[in-house]
Point group: C2
Chain length 350, copies 2
């Protein structure tokens, strides 16, 4: 009679932030891959590209010209999914056809004037400048009473739908609270009501004790592969201090976050010696909507690559219709990332 | 003062089956695309491929040899994500690290002995043979008391992670009820408790009256773009009769379903004159777990293509971290699909 082992037998794990389960199939890594092999985007961009709408001095779709900026640069998305002047309106037919207007502001942030950089290749100081912009944009968007949530994120790499390789991220802010935040609010609130402590603070304490899924730690942040990770090398950055948004970060914390981001993305690049694609973004409490004492700031990294620079995990079929599924265990992924150097492979190779 | 218009202003729509909202940005179609352009898989496969593990007479990874089958052929997945003999087990540390064993059976169904066909290119009779296999597999899997849900699905096309172009689908059955089914059960149950009618039957009645999102209809099934569709050309096939699983389909219904599938997938191929990729699958009630009088059988098609055979919608960044988002309206998509011929473009071009 066998005993059940997490690193050997198919099982489900609970995502404590959403209440949803992920199916883990640890034995399935032996599957041969006859499917799609991604093109590898050549990594030889010039420092300045005259056709890039993010490079300093170039023109944009709305007719504006970018300033000759030095570190980062923010502007309103020329093709925004959300608009501030959307008229109010609602529709409800028999609770079957239900719709509401949605207002919002979408911004783009260029992380650097240099077209050929990415976050892991920038210095901690330069990344700190980006963190400063995130914080000040968060604060100024919050001044609009009608904005209830601000999503700061980055899509990196062609296979993540990123339409321009110039290092940049986005901020979408809106009048309603989006789905993932509704889920994470509910779970954190319930836990806080029972324990009077932050769910993620308790989780972090347990993970630090176990040390099985920790990738990196500094004085203010921990990078780990969550127990319930869905994407092969998914990670989370969690602040050691229980604060509910980037608004409250101190100067020391902002530098520490920049370091955590640099190290996480460097380890990612080193894993398959490629510019590692991902979608990453912060989760924080809604704004202009009362207090959220339960909310604990964190940042998710969702990278699709599974086996190499050209073979990704597809979240299709069973995953879309039934349940997220993963092949390698989170512990295996954490181990691999932990053992990666914190020096970028391009530098090590010089 | 403008008035709010669904076909003009950003808004959210409620998915009545899951309780989740989708963000619709109708104005956003003008966005230029500088991002990833997919390779188009050449569509010139031979009728028989000696290296294909699904072609008749060929060997498979488990050492077996495929029989010389005539219409469809079922076998256990050689690299199954779920296994029937998984030992029972549980883990729970402080409600923070929570895991359960999961048992299951994964099968593969070849839809046709011919390597170069796809569902739209098969006859209604040949598709009916596939529907018959789905029904008999569903019935025989249900005989295992411990199986609680059976997911029948197809991943089609390289960009949907399909690792072999031979026409085939999969069935994953398992000891727990997966996430999407938990959500759809809850919503259908609540509606049924209040109205004593099927949620989808009432929805179907309203949609047939409006006729705005209907793509195709025969005596037993309706194909429509749901009001809350997430993927650009997402559709649903809904049975006119309120039955909770494929088990109860009559011979006439099975032929009508085969016709609805043939027409839906033909219109898809005609849209961009390409073999249209998608993940598709049936949703039906759990099994061996009491009655589910609220459950109403339906089938979802989730296709990623947005603008052409090579430009897809990416569900990344904002969508992964916050909320699903779409650019064209469901009404626009339904219109386009409705006007597509029911004759396959390859035949029209002969
Ligand atoms: O089973 P296949 O076709 O090898 O694999 C495909 O379908 C599975 C079920 O939807 C997914 O888990 C895989 O990511 C995908 O590549
Ligand atoms: O805004 P971009 O970079 O043009 O577009 C990208 O990010 C958006 C936000 O995650 C997504 O909605 C798009 O599908 C994706 O292609």
């Amino acid at each position: 009679n066998q005993t059940f082992e997490l690193d050997n037998n198919p099982h489900t794990r609970l995502n404590i932030l959403t209440g949803e389960w992920v199916l883990v199939s640890p034995h399935r890594t032996k599957r041969p891959w006859q499917g799609k092999v991604e093109d590898i985007t050549p990594d030889d961009r010039p420092e300045y590209d005259p056709k890039c709408y993010l490079c300093p001095g170039n023109g944009r779709a709305d007719g504006e010209t970018n300033p000759d900026y030095q570190d980062s640069f923010v502007f309103n998305n020329d093709f925004a999914a959300l608009l501030a002047d959307t008229p109010l309106g609602k529709m409800n037919e028999d609770d079957l056809l239900v719709a509401n207007n949605q207002r919002g502001v979408c911004k783009v942030i260029s992380f650097s004037p240099k077209h050929n950089l990415t976050l892991p290749e920038m210095s901690v100081e330069a990344i700190t400048a980006v963190v400063n912009v995130w914080q000040s944009e968060f604060n100024s968007l919050t001044e609009n009473e009608w904005i209830k949530y601000i999503q700061i994120f980055e899509n990196k790499g062609e296979i993540m739908g990123c339409s321009n390789p110039h290092p940049h991220g986005q901020i979408w802010s809106q009048s309603d609270i989006p789905l993932e935040i509704v889920k994470e609010t509910a779970r954190q609130k319930t836990y806080y009501a029972i324990h009077r402590r932050s769910l993620l603070a308790d989780y972090l304490k347990l993970e630090l004790k176990k040390a099985e899924r920790i990738v990196f730690e500094n004085d203010h942040f921990v990078v780990l592969v969550p127990f319930w990770a869905v994407w092969p090398y998914e990670t989370m950055i969690i602040s050691k201090r229980h604060i509910n948004s980037i608004k409250l970060f101190t100067t020391t914390e902002k530098i520490a976050l920049a370091e955590a981001i640099k190290i996480t993305t460097t380890k990612y690049d080193n894993l398959f010696e490629t510019s590692f694609p991902y979608s990453a973004g912060m989760h924080q409490s809604p704004v202009n909507n009362g207090d959220y004492p339960e909310w604990h700031w964190h940042m998710h990294f969702f990278p699709p690559l599974l086996r190499s620079a050209s073979v990704k995990k597809f979240m299709v079929g069973y995953e879309m219709l039934a349940n997220p599924q993963r092949d390698i265990t989170p512990e295996f992924a954490a181990n691999r990332l932990r053992e990666m150097s914190t020096e970028h492979y391009k530098i090590s190779k010089l």
